[in-house]
């Protein structure tokens, strides 16, 4: 038994010494050396990577509450930014609307005009009337024309102290004297219910030469409306089978579902608004 120990120890010493002798003073790593080194280096870097990863995971779990708080904050910021953006968009929209109305006002500079805002619409679905936020306190009176930048809306049918009732041209209780721009043929425009939000134009003479696409404007006959305000375009020509009367279906140039700001025009120039200077800055 003892000789076996001796043998092992002596062999180990001889191998170690010879290894030392060989490896002493070498300039490059031996193949064994480099193989071992390669393996060790790989293992070490792998180890480091794993540690990194674990640290990341730990950091992830440590930071989750902080991130949550941050997320919440950013979300709030995003919401407020969005709200701000939307309000800016609204302001921009309002601005374009108002500047278009201002242009209209210059166009009809012969007549006094005043800006107003729609505050309520008919709760039922039968009439197309609405209320605007100015009334007798601003000098508004019955039978003044109401327009937007796109065209004719209607007229004032009733005046309270701080509100006025407006009847639109797509309401069948009212009719507007109209003419076509191209041919000057005269007729009147009233509501039509064959298709929604549309008017019809009944001609004064039955052999009128109006064709599809003609622009219809207010005529020179009216006492309420200044001439030349756009009402709409002819969409269809129809002959009534029973009465053989011809009429034209007209697509209004104003979008009645999206009315917001309107302009009131007073054709009767002998009478003036009380506060005409406040147009446009009347909020």
């Amino acid at each position: 038994m003892k000789s076996k120990y001796k043998f092992v120890v002596i062999t180990l010493a001889v191998v170690s010494i010879s290894c030392a002798g060989f490896s002493y003073n070498r300039s490059a790593p031996t193949p064994v050396d480099s193989a071992l080194g390669y393996a060790a280096a790989t293992a070490a870097s792998l180890n480091v990577k794993i540690i990194d990863k674990l640290e990341n995971v730990a950091a992830y779990f440590r930071g989750i509450s902080r991130l949550n708080a941050e997320n919440e904050k950013l979300r709030e910021e995003l919401l407020s930014a969005r709200a701000q953006l939307n309000s800016l968009k609204l302001v921009e929209q309002e601005n374009t609307q108002l500047s278009a109305l201002l242009k209209m006002q210059e166009e009809y500079s012969d007549f006094p005009t005043i800006g107003a805002r729609i505050i309520a619409k008919d709760p039922g679905n039968w009439f197309n009337t609405f209320l605007i936020d100015k009334g007798a306190n601003y000098g508004l009176k019955k039978n003044m024309a109401v327009i937007t930048a796109d065209g004719l809306v209607g007229k004032i049918s009733e005046c309270g102290y701080n509100y006025s009732k407006v009847v639109s041209i797509i309401d069948d209780s009212d009719a507007v004297s109209a003419q076509s721009v191209r041919t000057n043929s005269v007729g009147y425009v009233t509501a039509d219910f064959s298709e929604e939000a549309q008017c019809r134009m009944q001609y004064s003479e039955n052999n009128s030469d109006i064709i599809v696409g003609d622009e219809i404007v207010t005529s020179y006959i009216s006492e309420i409306y200044p001439r030349g305000i756009s009402i709409g375009h002819v969409k269809k020509l129809i002959t009534d089978e029973k009465t053989s009367l011809k009429y034209a279906i007209i697509e209004p140039s104003v979008d009645f579902s999206r009315l917001d700001h309107v302009l009131v025009i007073n054709k009767n120039t002998s009478y003036d608004f009380t506060e005409v200077t406040t147009v446009g800055s009347d909020e």
Binding site: A120, P123, W126, L131, D172, E196, A197
Partner: protein, 168 residues
């Protein structure tokens, strides 16, 4: 009891204002569901014929004064609807939300046809087909739907005031 009628008036005013301003934002295809009609019907059903009549008169007057061409049309229609619903539902079980849906459907039909007769037919227009498809049919769908929340609101109001009555 006086408090009840003041509350009725205030609630009617709120519903009217809501309908004429914010109602435009819940309009589908340009048709606004008639919350006022639903409120008249629900009050007539939940309370009694007299209350239905009073709410109908308040609502009709509000709508006629602000948007009608003459006063009386909505006054008559809403009043008749409120009173009739009250009389018809006198012996009905009062805690069922489906009954006002049915009543609102019938009332919307009656209201719209009555409105057509009083405002359009008497003027000489006889063609009802456009009106049926563009105004009446959509309302017959929307009004019963809107009557469900209005029913719960009315029953809350009614509960509050019937409690007061017992206390006095």
């Amino acid at each position: 009891m006086k408090m009840k009628y003041i509350a009725y008036f205030l609630v009617s005013l709120i519903i009217f204002l809501f309908q004429s301003t914010l109602g435009q934002y819940i309009a589908i295809a340009g048709i606004v569901p008639n919350m006022m009609l639903a409120f008249v019907v629900c009050t007539g059903y939940k309370s009694n014929a007299e209350d239905g009549l009073i709410i109908g008169i308040i609502m009709g007057l509000l709508q006629d004064c602000f948007f009608g061409y003459y006063i009386g049309c909505n006054l008559f229609l809403y009043g008749v609807i409120g009173y009739t619903v009250g009389v018809l539902s006198r012996d009905l079980y009062k805690n069922n939300f489906a009954t006002p849906i049915f009543f609102t459907f019938i009332a919307a039909l009656f209201y719209n046809l009555g409105f057509f007769v009083l405002n359009i037919l008497l003027k000489g227009y006889t063609d009802i087909t456009g009106y049926i498809f563009l105004k009446i049919l959509p309302e017959l769908v929307y009004d019963p739907l809107i009557s469900i929340p209005i029913y719960y609101m009315t029953s809350a109001l009614n509960r509050k005031f019937s409690e007061n009555k017992i206390k006095i």
